[in-house]
Symmetry: D2
Subunit: 343 residues, 4 copies
């Protein structure tokens, strides 16, 4: 059994880690921490977990995190970069679901996240945990930077086109729509029911923190820098991200559906739909799947990729566990066979 701890298990991502790990056959949940709720039973705060988990929240200082085989950070940006190094040096592995180790360049990180990086020396060592791209490296590291929800779905959507040099890389467009849980559990006016329900809008059209992370990943696929316009939107649903991606094809004659089907044929968590089908976010609710379709409207020069995921699963906690499975040599789908809840 793998001894697992979760730091910051009061956010949506942390609770989702608990939900998924509670039935993972190779995991023993050692500690879940929260400064604000320490001493309280987890199931008192989250009634959906009544009867599932018996643990109380412990203070991150008191928890014997270093005794864990792996520690998940489900904390706000700027926390893991302080605490991860000591854990790593004590022998634990770390999977960070925040943005702390996702960029290589500390200056760039500091620009987008507005604070000085506390452990820049670990940035080079961190492996970006997108298994469909970095499976081998993930298996060899001790520090995984788990991708953001937007970056996961955008990278999986563009990957076959970019790896095969099929599109102009200076004018990629990602029009992406996220459910409200993507904004986290912090109280904000925009995430109040009366503001978010029965409405829809873009936000951060001028520039969103996930932009450099996505561009970094896309560039790695092409070997060159890419030009990307990324516009995130807030959807009035709880879970789910839908990316609509646009790219100019170099050769309109390529069979795009076949390309995608082949690229992902052996990926358990990427599902290419039959030609002509459109993925909907409900079909992945609660599951670790990313479902993808590709179109070429009117046979023209633009490829349109549609990709969906559950932002809390494949976009966060599920992918983190997928990475853990790789880290510990388990079959990649262990504990991740939850079927989407439909309707």
């Amino acid at each position: 059994m793998i001894r697992v701890s979760i730091v910051g298990a009061t956010g949506y991502t942390g609770v989702e880690l608990v939900r998924l790990l509670a039935t993972h056959p190779e995991v023993e949940l050692a500690a879940v921490t929260s400064r604000g709720e320490r001493g309280k039973p987890v199931a008192d705060i989250f009634p959906s977990l009544r009867g599932v988990i018996d643990l109380d929240y412990s203070d991150p200082e008191d928890a014997a995190l270093a005794d864990s085989d792996v520690v998940f950070f489900a904390t706000p940006n700027g926390t893991a970069m302080h605490q991860a190094p000591a854990l790593l040096e004590a022998g634990a592995k770390v999977i960070d679901l925040s943005a702390d180790y996702r960029l290589r360049d500390p200056a760039q990180w500091e620009h987008w996240y507005g604070q000085q990086h506390a452990s820049p020396g670990y940035l080079d060592e961190a492996v970006y945990g997108l298994p469909e791209m970095n499976r081998k490296l993930i298996g060899q590291t001790r520090l995984v930077a788990n991708p953001g929800c937007y970056p996961t779905v955008v990278q999986l959507g563009f990957m076959p086109l970019l790896e095969n040099d099929l599109v102009a890389t200076d004018s990629l467009i990602a029009d992406v729509k996220s459910g409200v849980s993507g904004a986290g559990r912090k109280l904000t006016p925009a995430t109040q029911f009366c503001a978010a329900a029965e409405s829809f809008s873009a936000y951060a059209a001028a520039g969103h923190r996930h932009l450099p992370e996505i561009k970094h990943g896309l560039s790695a696929m092409t070997g060159d820098t890419v030009g990307l316009v990324f516009v995130p939107h807030l959807l009035p649903i709880i879970r789910g991200i839908h990316a609509t991606l646009y790219a100019r094809l170099k050769d309109p004659g390529t069979d795009l559906h076949e390309l995608y089907a082949r690229r992902y044929a052996r990926e358990q968590f990427v599902d290419v739909l039959p030609q002509g089908a459109h993925p909907d976010t409900a079909s992945v609710k609660g599951s670790n799947s990313c479902r993808i379709a590709v179109f070429q409207p009117q046979g023209g020069a633009t490829a349109v990729v549609l990709a969906v995921e559950d932002n809390l699963v494949k976009g966060a906690a599920g992918q983190a566990i997928q990475n853990m499975n790789i880290l510990f040599g388990l079959p990649e789908a262990t504990g991740l066979t939850q079927i989407a809840l439909w309707p």
Copy 2:
């Protein structure tokens, strides 16, 4: 392995049976039938099941249903009563999720369901599948009448009060609110998004088909007929039922919370909340739990019971599998450990 078939697996309840049975460790899914979709892969109609199930829909006439150990009917009312007898005589067990075998009196059934009963001779044999009430009988039958979604939560909510003769039985009130999936997958104006979203209303206030079923069950708890006013409402959510129950206490001095906690202490799928907590439907979404709280406002003469369930799980498919587990001598929670999806 238990060979299982599902008749009518294109409605919400049938799809939910597939979702739950697909990961049941003791079940082999032999056939799923649908006249309208025969020949098509189940996963083509329900993309949430892609990668989960490989079966095509078969015609109910072609499927070798009688070779199954158990056949679930997830059909509209009036179908199982025609097909179940032959299957039973051929040796299969039958769990009927429709209303066909829920009432003892064929005349009453015909009054509420507007058609003649096709196999009234089986009504006496059928066992009403509410495990918390009829566990022993369920284990001995071959024909289970799986309770309706409303009746399940209302009966579990009133049970401790009625079994202990604590309330006036002539003036019970059940104000119950159901998510839209409770209305089934048939196209109707009331279940269109633009009619159901951002709205709320009661329906069938003059009399709903579940009334005789509920009264029958409540009467069985008291040994006498009961007076019940039952008002169903349509909630703008997909899954979930919330019952708010009112009863006049004979003795306001009883410790109601203790009563409920004791009654359900050994029930795996009924969860009595800590005193003062209010259950919400989200805490049972996708799980087989019924969560209950009881209040006595201002210490007065009225007991208020709050009870929630997922209408498709504990209110339908989950309870049907719970009954199957009892029928086949399996631990009751086998294959039913799904954790509620929150948020």
Copy 3:
């Protein structure tokens, strides 16, 4: 033209007052105040008001409120009781949408609202602004205590039964469901999208602040104290309240529909539906209507009343303007002819 000011116009109720008053033909909006947003254009905070209103928020201290003919308080409980007396003495009329002047007994107010009342001397003078009950008194006062959203719909629902002494008054039940805007614009965990959407629960089942206000009103109809169980619930919709009311009939032979139709025949804002119809909250969204239906299930001893309103209109801002119209001798529907927005 009536010079109108609004104190606290950043909450849902205040913004709704602006929406309704902006097209009122006899009103000139003099000032809207907000400590937090002073100096900012109202339309910058609420884009729905762009092009509608040109005012900036002013500080309540700076605004010449006493120059207004009438001042609406759309403030949290505990504010109007401090500021209203000076305005009244300066000659302005006051319509308070908070709870400050709704109860006669300061001790009772202090019990439920947890603070000392700052101007108890004005409680006797305040008129409870339910026009269907107190129209004459409203026309003669200078201080209107505008009813709460729950109390409005519950009182209108029970009124014909109680005024005519038709039901047992010791066991009234009000099972009431409110949209999320009823909880106000303050940030709370329960009103976050991810907590409120796709869920439903009761709250404050042990006792809600509106209980004494409702009981006070119902008692006034009967001339005696009443016994009431009031259970509020949170609905996943923005606007709308649905009350389901239960009362034991003294004589099951009364024609309830006729009773309701007659009682409200001359009320412009209470609409009794055709027999057998069920009101839905969508049918009053944005309008000042309360729609009502009454049932007597199975011809039994229990009357079931269904009543809906838009909590921000008839339950708050609309009713406040209805009261203003009465105060100033205008036709009661002036400026209140908005048609419900459906779908």
Copy 4:
């Protein structure tokens, strides 16, 4: 007073016409027709209109439509093309909210709408009713082809860029999201609550009927054919369309915000937001506004336009009334001053 009739007033668009026309000061509603509901009071089918409208539905054959000054067609595609010619010849004006007269080329119409055009001789005469583009022509015609909901918002969004030749016209992208009411009131699986709520997907990515209409309008702005990729999506809201538009700038140095502000300065129903603000659909719910913002992410070569409208108002019934006002020489905003319902 203008005598107005509505053909097909049982769909969302027809009901919305009734809502808006009922308070229009210069309109008398002469007849509303429906084959299916003839003889029934309109307010019986749509309770939101109780107390607002006294008319019964009449059969389109019986109604003296030709006596009307103007007839609105709120019918499915393929109806107006049969009935409009006789009305026009009898002297009535016609405003068609369906697609029948929106394209000039009958062959193109027949390709996209799958039937032969019944009155192609009127296509040349019909004026495309986008007032911001064709105000003068609208004032001179007797037959208005009211734009589709998608085409309205996409054309208003691109207009300043195209009119001024600022972008490459071969690679325009319109990623557009519509609320469910845009799909009409017909019963379909995709518009059921359980399918549409808590989900999001694209549809018709290979080609949507509004594509030729939009391209036609955009081409008229540039004087040349344009290349457009148009991907519609279904939003889980009732009302509202959000367009996110992408275009390659010829000169990244243009002040886009100033361009848009200037272009729409005198348009009453197009609102350019302050720089940096993002429009949300809730801010136009129930109103005739289109709100627009324009961004140039990272100062790059791509312009991003965000535009919202209520698909039933500015995208249908409101714009139709705006056109009627122009036709009859009334101030364009007559009867169209409804303020958005927020929250």
